[in-house]
Symmetry: C2
Subunit: 412 residues, 2 copies
């Protein structure tokens, strides 16, 4: 039986963490920078050394392929992304690429004959830390964006995605894009506290929450704090405050992982002795079902309208973004679950609150995710951490799942 | 019977409003600027032309004196301040100086013989728009500040109060300070909506609310909005929101004019998909009695501590400012009330929520204020407005009160 080389996997992750390392132990490795190129080069060198064949497509996606005994069969795709947010952590997407590479290395070394090719993938610029929106490369594969749109996206300095892709030498051929995918399995840190709270190393991903973002402008009457009687005030901040706590309470009516969050709150003029005449704030609503998302969003709007009327203020509510919930392939979810159980790793099923390339790939191929317990639930920060045993557990499960899938006839 | 010259009073106010006029119909006339000098000069010229004797003390306070038949008797002080906040209104303090000047002009013209001298006063830099804290000149008269402290205060460009006072030629002699004051009566716009709401032109000031300012730092746990279950969050913004609405509700337990206000709220990091880990906010508490102020302040703190515990966040509460309530001289309050009633002007008694030079002068002399209805309750803004009839009413009452007081033997 082939087994994960935990030491090599850890060494690979720590070696990658050198590229863009921050003083506080994190990583800044924005997409299509020199640092990103260095990470791509290192990944490609390791893959080549392991006997994999590396190719790059027109979106800069790097594929490291372990050939199967039936080279024309649809491949098993495993991986994630090597880029990070500014002052992010050592793991996030890199974990998924390195776990994928480790699985391919083990399989290559073992000489096991698999019917299907295995491709370890590094999706370009998953994060929105430099180019927005996030996940554009996988989005093109799913037909959500055109390459022309993606190439034209510019960072804050005006550098475009297309020009930067050429500059770092990672603009490949459209012919190199992956075609029909037999299955995509993405390993990723959980980025939340649920697994840690339950004492579980792994989480079997069932899907990704749908999300609605709103921009809310509450307008009352700015006045001096002193001479304005309480009962005649139209205080935009008090109204916004009641909305914020009310929207939180709404989410408590639902089981996890449904969430509502108000992250941005800007009262104007924002001085100590003035009643705020206006508050601009954001509302983030997430739910695993399309109907649930619509219901929670509508309840939040109704609550805001009711409070606005009670506080005699105006509330302009604008929906600025919406993504539907993602439901992963049930057969793959069952397979990942059964292999996790068979290997004896404690786990639960969970729905991710964050976006991943798996979201877009799920639209064109059977997809599933496997989540790794995240210390303190902290991610996108320099103190992001995992337990090494959990990483090895994820690699073991992935290895086992890939081994099973690679022998299969086409699923679809 | 002598009567206010309403046309002249209106013309004086509109003439003053030319100095520092803003495009939107307001006034920017910060203390000790060239614009302030122009206003002082215009006031002095008008006073001199009316037969008053102008002098300036070491704080730049301008006194325009109408001599009495007993020149050694303590004077009646009337007036306010000519400076404004940035993009302030045409009235605010200027109204009190111009009404005072009108009263002195009328008395001078009428040839009425009064025992006591009348001094129309322009207190230097009442607003904190340029030099902080506010009301330093009257504060020196009350012994709250030393002249050295006041001279050393610098504006944002590093210009000091002392240097600017000399530069505009208004640094006079300490010997010119007013000595013992028989009574001080300050006319001012209400700056709130109470009189307008009641349909009353005038308000007889009973005092000024005491005030406590707090700085509150709420600290929870910053996390991603998506993968963080509602029940394990330590959301500083939700905690702050509950505090803000709770603190508002506390004030509703009290009759007007008790107030609480949260004007400044800063969530960190303040982005749409992050649970705020910290919120920094202000709390402004006002009450007319010392005991009431302490009680309301303590209730607000207890409420914040309780909510912090419930939301599993930390709340650091710091008291950054406190001023005791001011209670004006009861005999002067009664006198202003009886003269207002005798002249047939509808009025109510009220306690001001805003600070005024009358606050400090009240500590050294019998003091009272008379408030003028403010259109829409708006002040410290370019659309600040009054009804001309109300201004004439205030001048009539002041004239009558001054006439009575100027014949009196010393009150204290």
């Amino acid at each position: 039986v082939v087994k994960t080389n935990g030491e090599r996997l850890k060494a690979s992750l720590l070696s990658m963490a050198e590229l863009g390392a921050t003083e506080a132990g994190g990583v800044t490795r924005l997409g299509l920078t020199d640092t990103d190129r260095a990470a791509r080069n290192r990944f490609s060198d390791w893959a080549t050394a392991a006997g994999l064949k590396v190719r790059v497509d027109d979106l800069g996606i790097v594929y490291a392929r372990l050939e199967g005994t039936e080279p024309t069969a649809d491949p098993i795709l495993i991986g994630s992304h090597l880029d990070s947010v500014p002052f992010g952590g050592k793991f996030d997407g890199t974990l998924g690429v390195m776990v994928g590479l480790e699985v391919a290395r083990i399989l290559a070394e073992s000489g096991v004959c698999l019917r299907r090719p295995i491709e370890v993938v590094d999706f370009t610029s998953e994060e929105a830390g430099r180019f927005e929106p996030a996940m554009m490369a996988s989005g093109v594969l799913a037909g959500r964006f055109t390459p022309e749109y993606v190439y034209s996206r510019a960072d804050r300095d005006g550098c475009t995605y297309g020009a930067e892709l050429e500059r770092i030498g990672y603009k490949g051929s459209p012919a190199n894009r992956v075609g029909k995918i037999h299955a995509y399995i993405e390993v990723h840190i959980e980025q939340g506290p649920a697994l840690e709270a339950e004492g579980l190393p792994l989480g079997v991903g069932e899907g990704i929450l749908g999300m609605i973002w709103k921009n809310v402008t509450v307008t009352g009457q700015p006045q001096h704090a002193g001479p304005s009687p309480m009962r005649s005030r139209r205080d935009a901040m008090v109204a916004a405050a009641r909305m914020i706590s009310g929207i939180r309470d709404l989410a408590l009516d639902y089981p996890d992982p449904v969430t509502t969050t108000v992250g941005r709150v800007l009262p104007l003029p924002g001085v100590i002795n003035q009643i705020p005449g206006q508050v601009i704030m954001s509302v983030d609503v997430r739910h695993w079902s399309t109907a649930g998302l619509a219901e929670l969003s509508e309840r939040a709007e109704a609550l805001m309208r009711r409070i606005a009327a009670e506080e005699k203020v105006d509330a302009q509510i604008e929906q600025i973004w919406r993504i539907d919930p993602t439901v992963f392939d049930p057969r793959l979810v069952d397979l990942v679950e059964s292999e996790t159980r068979r290997l004896g790793y404690p786990y639960c099923r969970l729905t991710s609150g964050a976006g991943h390339d798996a979201k877009y790939i799920n639209e064109i191929a059977p997809t599933v995710m496997l989540f790794v317990r995240t210390v303190g639930g902290k991610s996108h920060c320099e103190t992001e951490a995992v337990h090494w045993d959990d990483v090895v557990a994820a690699a073991d499960v992935l290895l086992s799942v890939v081994h099973t899938l690679a022998q299969e006839a086409p699923l679809r």
